[in-house]
């Protein structure tokens, strides 16, 4: 239809003009300041562990610690402390530990607040089997890229009549374009061969149909990356039988939530899975996705692997591949050795012992 073609052409031009730089910034010289949000529970101890390992690895990172407890701004609107926001806007890169959301706090979850403040539209979770940590699945090597701002999690719900509730799933062309573009850029920058769009357009014809169309359009612009589309149920079915067939997966919010946790389960759980959130204006916050584990907080029992691997992801995003490789190799070597594992990995070492083992290995690798 002529109208659709015209609209899509206009939106493409506008998109090109507004396009934020999605290339990873290459930090080739100097020390780079990164905002560090230690978080709650085991957050501070695993952040200390990561900082120690980075120091030993001589990574050119300077940490700026900030706190993000929600405060009420003028007009009663909940927001993060202005110094945290200012630091993040200045540094653009952040590393975050687990945050707790108190149940009757009256404010939305901290993660949601951060997401809205920095418009973190893409949640990226690379899932690769860890050699030393055995799970029934040994050949996982995929990345889930999940749209993080709309979809089923728009929070728009109404009670129509007593006993009938509707939840609205929102799919917009703009958000879908953004995430599709990011998926292909990520694939290119990380030497990934193919991108798979996950959808349920046979049932949700218009919404997932729109998502799928924008993915196809983005695929046209990136002919060097293979593109295919697959139904959500087929992906789930094949994922638990043979995860090696998947590479980069891009999808709307809900499917992304379920699939990224499914893939995390394949490689060993949230304690070893890294995650990154990409936002508008070049902001990127890398985080560990596990909980605050208040029962082991302060007892030197926590496992810093998730936060460490997220920090490694951060280094790669910044172009510091040498340091990233060193730290990652050291971490995997220590896990493979099985001599200094924390309790959740099957050993009985302390967090500090595990960290020291990694530091030692880093020194050997330098």
């Amino acid at each position: 239809m002529a109208g659709t073609a015209w609209r899509s052409a206009v939106s493409q031009v506008v998109g090109a003009l507004k396009k934020e730089s999605l290339q990873p910034r290459t930090f080739t010289r100097g020390i780079h300041t990164v905002t560090l949000i230690p978080g709650d529970g085991i957050g501070p101890e695993i952040s200390t562990a990561v900082m120690k390992i980075f120091e030993v690895a001589k990574a050119p990172i300077q940490w700026e610690e900030r706190n993000v407890t929600a405060i009420q701004g003028p007009g009663g609107k909940w927001m993060i402390p202005p110094d945290a926001k200012e630091s993040m806007d200045r540094n653009k890169i952040g590393l975050k530990g687990p945050l707790k959301t108190p149940i009757a706090a009256g404010h939305p979850s901290m993660n949601l607040l951060l997401r809205k403040t920095f418009d973190l539209y893409a949640n990226v979770r690379p899932c690769a089997s860890i050699e030393g940590y055995q799970t029934p699945y040994t050949d996982v090597n995929l990345v889930t890229i999940r749209e993080n701002t709309e979809g089923e999690y728009s929070g728009i719900e109404h009670v129509i009549v007593d006993g009938v509730v509707q939840s609205i799933k929102l799919i917009t062309e703009q958000a879908s374009q953004r995430i599709a573009e990011y998926a292909f850029e990520y694939a290119k920058n990380n030497q990934r061969a193919s991108v798979t769009a996950v959808h349920k357009a046979n049932i949700m014809r218009m919404s997932d149909g729109l998502f799928l169309r924008t993915c196809r359009e983005a695929a046209e612009k990136h002919k060097d990356v293979k593109f295919n589309e697959m139904y959500l149920d087929t992906v789930c079915l094949n994922m638990v039988q043979d995860p090696s067939q998947f590479d980069v997966l891009v999808m709307p919010n809900l499917y992304g939530d379920i699939l990224s946790d499914l893939c995390a389960g394949l490689i060993g759980g949230l304690g070893v899975t890294p995650s990154g959130n990409i936002g508008a204006n070049g902001v990127a916050i890398f985080e560990s996705v596990h909980g605050t584990a208040p029962d082991i907080a302060g007892k030197d029992m926590a496992n810093p692997t998730a936060l460490l691997l997220s920090a490694v992801m951060m280094l790669r995003h910044m172009g510091l591949h040498g340091h990233a490789q060193k730290i990652e190799t050291a971490c995997f070597d220590v896990i493979r050795d099985k001599k200094a594992l924390t309790k959740d990995l099957g050993g009985n070492s302390k967090c500090s012992e595990f960290t020291d083992a990694i530091c030692q290995r880093v020194r050997e690798l330098v």
Binding site: P136, E152, I171, Q174, K200, I203, R205, C236, L237, D261
Partner: protein
Amino acid sequence: VNVYFNWSLQPPPARYGGRHTVTLIPGDGIGPELAKHVCELFRFCCVPVDFEVVDVDSSMASEDDIDDAIMAIRRNGVALKGNIETNHNLPPSYKSRNNLLRTTLDLYANVMHCQSLPGVRTRHRKIDIMIVRENTEGEYSSLEHENVPGVVECLKIITKTKSLRIADYAFQTARAKGRRLVTAVHKANIMKLGDGLFLECCKEVASGYPEISFESMIVDNTTMQLVSRPQQFDVMVMPNLYGNVVSNVCAGLVGGPGLVPGANYGENYAVFETGTRNTGKSIANSNTANPTAMLLASCLLLDHLKLHDYASMIRRAVLSTLTETKLHTADLGGQGSTSEVLQRVMNAVQSTGPRTLSM
């Protein structure tokens, strides 16, 4: 005693000399060949079932075919069906035929029993999960609109009546089969009103079954638990979309789409099919499809018609065939063909002694 629906779903009375008439919808992809195999096997075993075949052409824009199929199912009360393909590149006015069938006949419960089968090698052992999935509302309500160009809204509807109905079905099933635990799967931390209502209904029904434990779990945690420790689950109840995800994950865990049968129950009708509802387009007509799922679905059909002896006989034969690794079809990692599997099933039936047609 809370009775939210008519649990004792009576099968339609047998007609014409004790023979039942069952609607058969072959569908697309591997559907037609599997339907043919079921007919052959039933005739061989002298099962008192006659099939009324209704073809549904998925390429036609008019809904006459599916309307005919629905009328046939209303007439006969019970059906066996293959998956009808939905071309998702067609405009939204073309609705999924399978979904239309389910919602028009109000087949509100989709039941899939995933269990580890002997002879099939999988990463996890001793899985025995019964999935009860709401089949008519939720995200599959097909209510979508584009208010502003480029902004699409899709409505997910959760109602109290249907949630109570499916929860009661799950608990009744658990009680009837002697199961200990029912787990409700949801995302009520995000969809507070929608999934919150579903969860409340489950809790309300649970209070009426004190001998069965009730738990709830968020869907993303559920998938993580399923791939690490699936043995912890017993009966699971959930809304439509999560049911789609969880049933496919469980089917993958026990060996794939070729093994698990599925059943759709309504207050007046029952339709049986393969559990994961695949058309298998890429392997159609190559004699490589795994007939196990469809054959086990036909056993569920026979159980529903209270022809239990025939059901057990065929089920025993199918499961014993599964233990023969050299007959495994491609989806199980072997090179066997569909016809070889079927021949072996017929041999197994004949060797157990009942009256069969000459081969």
